[in-house]
Structures are given as structure tokens and as C-alpha cells.
Symmetry: C2
Subunit: 452 residues, 2 copies
């Protein structure tokens, strides 16, 4: 770990003296995860300086390994010409993703400085939604006329071996005169055929393809069921637009899962790094907290309605936060099960009745267990079985309410095309808090003579 | 959606009449995600019946698409001979994963009925930890002697094209007499060489490889930085054991992320499906809730110590659950940021001081904002600025405590090799609850004359 501090110092001094070779050899000599950490710890201006100092290829590798928000900040901050040469080193889809996240004027400035062909590819990719097959596809792929022979293709592969070595493909795509996709050729089948064989004879005809507007979710499902490494993406009339690679889809799916985590945790799905400026971190977190405090005040206002009861049975105040927290926990479990089942396709958003009955049964069992536990605590503490009945009964009923709501809310949100990960938590806790407080305090008011 | 009910009925009646062809054609005719849903809705015994009825290859595809817990239940329930023929259709690593999850006596019964070669492969894979390179690797790969010629290999590829078509590889691995890995050959380079070339001339010598004990996390990092589709796995002396594919590592990583979600949500990292038996679902959820209720009682006992103060300023009871919930929310955000930064390698578990300062600064800003908000509510409601000072001050201080703790707990747990996703939440809320209650009530006790 001492080397880490040394490395950071060396990197910073390389930047000060504009020693590109020194910075590059330092970053080359350490593990990739160590270099992410080092770069994260540089100041924003030093990060930009580093990216400009490195040769475009190394800068591109560095940018690609970063958290997206950090990469965007850098591309936004540096000279458009430098940004253009860095983006030129990236795959078409990665470059387009970055361009799509930038301000449109900034993106335009960079596009104008990119090589015309690369810029044209990027402009096409930018017209597609980021989470569709069109937005995920790459434009680097092998395509040949369906009239070619094996010899033609082997010849071309030999001539352009250098260029194609970046292509990461096992297939060549065969198109007709109007660029319509008519077949797929496994490159290794070239090995097993004579040079004058027509590729039409050894190609897989009528290959599987997807329309550019197919969603990332749908694409992920197709890949999970089939062995393909890539899937050709076509337009409405069947013309080949690009190839959506399994790995791009996987990466996009992993990003979506990470976003869900950041949403459930109250970060609004945005990546926060502690190296970001305080005002940004604070504002993002507060935007969620300020909604939440409002919801909390609404829920707690139920307590305010029963101040007289509370004043007479002050012990209830001890149990209110417990009921609130426990109902929240039970409900969150049900939310998680629903979100997982939705993701896995094991529940349809319309199956409210099924989920309701499944959760109600579970809520009765768990509510009974938790209710008995908490009423035991109340009786042991105050020696009053009626107090036990009030808090135990309220927790039992509220557990049923919480698991039913927790199970249903994600389905309902999904049905209305809202994001279950973002909204389920706050809706759940507000309603269960209100209900829990009401149950305890109204039962206590009703049984007041037995409690005082 | 009507077809769904029809399909379920058709599937159930195929099972009743043991109509294998009917069941198979039904499942073949619908989308994979629809078949998962149908199979989930069958009774446990019908699921087993279906798997036994289908030809092993279709059964294997079905099993592979299921949630692991469900697949294991089936393999556990059916005749070991049938299970053996199904596992024989799966990739070596998938088969070994399933075997590893079964009771050892059951796994042994199945292994004895598998083909000797496949069983031997599975036994080797079973000796490795599931989340190491050894546990993730496949034993289906192409290996040749480093003395071969291009012609030898092309000949072998041609002869065994059928077998190799399942292999999903672009590389052949070259080994010396003692099975030590000495080179890697890109299959497409075979295209560009004459038949009598020695492969040693065109292979990539000293290829990157990983030791079988390297963790899945480490492997994922290596793949994220390099383009390889697979990475050879070797033993301590460099002998080739198998190939860890990028996609296996990705799948394992996605599973780990899903597990984290299930842990954070209080489901102990276990997959719950609503088609599972109630007693199992209830017991799993309760095991977490019962710990949580205990922690809640401990936290709330702080309130019990201040009953006299509460009795005199009953309004405080309204604010206690708000302070508890809001501190929990602020703390969870910090927990999420730490877990993400740990995952991304952007914080080291030893950097407690850095995280502490970063979170403290943010806690002061957000605490001030939230404190002012809540004290505004208190003053508007009761017209007593002292009440505002008590609840606002307590929330402010407790926000600082919550974000600092939330930021630090995952690092400390990680350092002691404990699971941040599982334990951070309960530890955080218990401590912040106790601290929050203490702050409000001790300040109120001190300022009691101004509050009544």
C-alpha cells in the first residue's frame, strides 16, 4: 500500500513536468484496478491533463475503464480535437455512448473534428435509443457479398488482418445488392472448404436478426437462451445496420442492475464517487432526502392526532419506532421478491391476486410470530397484558399490510411503466408507517382504561 | 395472456397423459421466458415429471434456464440415472455447479451413473471453490501438442467438427509433453498459414493464464481490462486445467450482484420464488426479521430511559420515528456509495480517514438542510423555537453520525472479510436509532423548562 502513495506522487509530478512517457510507463506498470484508483484521486484538472498528455490509444483505454460520469466530465473539459482523437480509438458504440451523454453543442464540436467516416458512424448510432439494439450495436464487422467465394474472403482477411484484428468476431455477414442480410458465415467453416466454393453454399441462410428498435431487455433474453456471440441488427426492410455483441448487452444489463441498486439506496440511480465535488454529492442525495422527510412528516402526523392517548400511556412512544421499522423491513423483503420475480419473468404485472394471496398467507405467519415476540417484550417490561395485545396486535396486522403492499407495489408500478426500484421504497414506508401508527394508537385509545 | 392459461392447461394435461412429444412441442413453440413462467407454476411433482418425460437434451436446456434453487430441487427429487443423463448434456462447469449444490450422497449417486469421462471431469471441477477460476472453468477446449503443424490441427478440426461445434472457442491451446501450457493459437491464424507450418511459429508464446485459485472477482477485473473471450486456467506448475470463459465469469458476477440485492433487502442472499412452499419462505424471512426486532428493542430502550421527559413534551413522540427513518435513509446512501466504490475498486478498505472526512463534510451540509426543514415543521406546528432547536439539532448531528457510520461500516466489514451487503444495514440503523433517540431526548431533558 505504500507504493500506492508513491505512485500517486510520481503520477502527479509527471503531470507537473508534462512527462508523457513517465506517466504512461507508470500506468502500464501497475494493475488496471490500481490505475483506476490513482486516476480517481487526481484533481479534476490533473485528470484532464493526464488524458491530454497520453497518446490517444492509452487515453482511450483509460477513459474506457472509468466510471461513465467521470469519463464524461473529462471529455467535456478537454479540447474537442483531443477528445475526437481519443473517441476515434474507441469502438463505435462506446464512442457513441459518450457522445450521447455530452451536451449536444459539445458533442457536435467533437464530431466535426473526428475522421469523417467514424463521425458518420457515430451520428448514425446516436439516432438510436441507448438501450435498444440500434444503440448497443457496433459498426465494426465483416460483411461480404453473398456472391463471394471462400477464396475472396480468405484473401480479404489476409490483406486486412491488421484492421480486422480489433473486430472481435467469429462470423462474417453476407448481404445482397441492396445490403439486405441473407446469410451468416462461421469463419472457421472457411477452414474446411476449398477456395472456389461459393460462400452461399456454406453460409447459414436466413440468419436470426433483430430489428434496431428491440429493447436491451429483450436482447438480453435472446442471448441468454442462445449461444450467439453477436446478433445482426437490421432496419425495417432487413438491411444490415450493425452487430449487437453479447458482451455489450451484458455490460448494459450489469449497468442497469447497478442503477437499480443506486435507486433502491436513495441515490436516484446516479453513480456517486467520493472524488466528485461536495455540492454535487450533497445536492443529489438531498433531492431524495427532502421528498422523504416530507413523507415522514405526513406519516408522523398520525401520531400527532393521538397525543392525548400517548400522554396517558407514554410506553407506547417506545413501540412506535419499532413498529415502523419492522413493518418497513417485512415490506422491503416482499418488494425485493417482486422485483426479482419481475426481472426473472416469473410473475406477470397483472397477477395481483396471486401475489396478494401468497403474501397474505406469509404475512399472517410472520405477523403472528413477530406480534407474539413484541407483545412478550411489552408484557415483560410493563406487566400489562393489554399493552402486549395492543402492540402485538398492531404489529401483526401491520405486517400483513406491509407484505401485501410490498408485494403489489412493484407490479403496479411496472404496469404503469414506472420504475419499481425507484419508487417502491418510499411509497411502502409512508403507507405502512401511517397504518402502523394508526393501528397502535387507535387500539390504545379504544382500550385506554386497561392501559393506564 | 389468455394463451398463457391455455398453455398451462395443455402442459398439465400432457403431463397427466405422459405425452412427451406434446409437452416438448408446446415448450418449443413459445418464448423461453414464457416457458420459465409456465414451469414455475407447475406443482413440484409436475415439474419433476416434466423433466423426466422430456428427452435429456431438452430437459437440460430447461434446467439451465431455471433459477438455481428450483433446478436443484428437481435434480434432488428425480431418479439419479435420469439426473445423470441430463447433467451429461450440460457444460462441464454448469454440471459441476449443480452437483456441488446437491447433498453429497445424492451427488455421488448421480456421478456414478454419469459417463466415466464426464464424471471424472466433474469430480475434478468439484474440488475447486465455486467462485475461483478452477470452479468457473470449462473442461471442453481444444488442446494440441506444441509440436503439431497447421495441417495436423486443421485435419483434427475437420474430423471432429461435430464435437467441437459445442465448444464455443476461437482459440486452441498448445501444451508441451508435461501438459504445461506453452502457447495459444488463434484459430483464424490457421487460415493464413500453409499446412506444414509448425504451430510453434504462429502461436502466441507465454500466454496469459491464471492460477486455479484466483477469485472470481479478480478474474472479472482481468476480463474487464482485456479483450479475451477465455483465459486458460493452470495449476501451480503451469499445467493446463481448463478454460475460464468471459461469459461464465460475467454470469457469476451477475449472480453475485443479485445476491447482494437479496442480502440488502433482508432475504439473506437466498432466491425466494412465490412458488416455493410457505414454511420455507416464512422461515427464511423470519430468520432476518427476528434479529432485526431484537436490535429494534435495544434501540428503543433508549426511549424508555426518558419516559419522564416524553410525558412532559409529548410532541417529541411525533419526531422520534422521523429522526429514526431519516437518519436511516442518509446512512443507507453512504452505505451504497461505499459498496459501489469497493466494487469498482475506487476505495481501499484501509482508507477510513478519507471516507470519514468526505462523509463528515457532506453530513454537515445535508444535516444542516434537513435540520432546518424539520425544525421549521416543529416551530410551525407548536410555535416553540426551542422544540425546533431540539429536533433540528438532533437531526443535524445524527445525520453526520449516520453518513459517517454508513460510509465506514462497509469498509470495516470488508477488512474483516465480512459481507458488507448483509450486515451494514442492521448495524447502521441500530446505532443511528439509539444515537438519534438519545440526542433528541437528552437535549429535551436539558432544555425541559423551555419546552413545557
Amino acid at each position: 500500500m505504500e507504493t500506492y502513495d508513491e505512485n500517486l506522487q510520481r503520477l502527479e509530478s509527471s503531470l507537473e513536468t508534462e512527462d508523457a512517457a513517465g506517466a504512461e510507463s507508470l500506468l502500464d506498470g501497475i494493475l488496471p484496478e490500481e490505475s483506476s484508483l490513482l486516476v480517481d484521486r487526481l484533481s479534476e484538472s490533473d485528470r484532464e491533463k493526464l488524458v491530454c498528455l497520453l497518446p490517444p490509444e492509452s487515453a482511450a483505454a483509460l477513459i474506457k475503464g472509468m466510471v461513465e460520469a467521470q469519463a464524461i466530465d473529462i471529455l467535456d473539459g478537454i479540447d474537442p480535437g483531443t477528445a475526437a482523437s481519443i473517441l476515434g480509438e474507441l469502438d463505435s458504440d462506446t464512442a457513441a455512448d459518450f457522445l450521447g451523454e455530452l451536451e449536444s453543442s459539445e458533442a457536435e464540436a467533437i464530431l466535426q473534428r473526428m475522421e469523417p467516416e467514424e463521425a458518420a458512424d457515430a451520428r448514425v448510432l446516436l439516432t438510436f435509443d441507448e438501450d435498444t439494439a440500434g444503440g448497443l450495436m457496433k459498426t465494426e464487422y465483416l460483411a461480404y457479398s453473398h456472391n463471394s467465394t471462400v477464396g475472396d474472403i480468405v484473401e480479404d482477411l489476409r490483406l486486412n488482418a491488421e484492421t480486422y484484428s480489433d473486430f472481435d468476431v467469429q462470423y462474417a455477414y453476407l448481404v445482397d445488392e441492396s445490403k439486405k442480410l441473407v446469410g451468416v458465415l462461421r469463419l472457421r467453416d472457411l477452414l474446411l472448404s476449398s477456395y472456389n466454393t461459393k460462400v452461399a453454399q456454406i453460409m447459414i441462410p436466413n440468419p436470426v436478426s433483430v430489428l434496431h428498435s428491440v429493447t436491451q431487455e429483450e436482447l438480453a433474453k435472446q442471448f441468454s437462451q442462445k449461444q450467439y456471440i453477436g446478433m445482426p441488427v437490421v432496419d425495417e426492410v432487413g438491411r444490415l445496420l450493425g452487430i449487437a455483441l453479447r458482451k455489450s448487452v451484458r455490460a448494459a444489463t450489469a449497468e442497469a442492475v447497478a442503477e437499480d441498486f443506486l435507486k433502491v439506496s436513495g441515490l436516484g440511480g446516479k453513480e456517486e464517487l467520493r472524488s466528485m465535488p461536495l455540492h454535487l454529492r450533497s445536492r443529489r442525495r438531498l433531492s431524495w432526502l427532502s421528498i422523504n422527510i416530507l413523507l415522514n412528516v405526513i406519516a408522523a402526523s398520525v401520531i400527532a392526532l393521538y397525543q392525548d392517548t400517548l400522554a396517558q400511556v407514554i410506553a407506547l412512544a417506545v413501540f412506535l419506532p419499532i413498529i415502523s421499522d419492522m413493518s418497513g423491513c417485512s415490506g422491503s423483503q416482499a418488494v425485493a421478491v417482486s422485483i426479482r420475480e419481475l426481472t426473472l419473468g416469473l410473475v406477470r404485472p397483472t397477477e395481483l391476486i396471486r401475489v396478494l394471496f401468497k403474501e397474505m398467507a406469509l404475512g399472517l405467519v410472520n405477523g403472528l410470530a413477530l406480534g407474539i415476540l413484541i407483545s412478550g417484550v411489552a408484557i415483560l417490561w410493563k406487566g400489562n397484558p393489554w399493552l402486549g395485545l395492543v402492540v402485538g396486535g398492531a404489529l401483526m396486522v401491520n405486517t400483513v399490510v406491509a407484505v401485501c403492499l410490498g408485494g403489489l407495489i412493484p407490479l403496479v408500478l411496472k404496469r404503469f411503466n414506472m420504475d419499481p426500484a425507484l419508487a417502491s421504497g418510499p411509497i411502502l414506508t409512508t403507507v405502512t408507517d401511517m397504518c402502523g401508527f394508526f393501528l397502535v394508537l387507535s387500539m390504545a385509545t379504544f382500550l385506554l382504561p386497561m392501559l393506564v
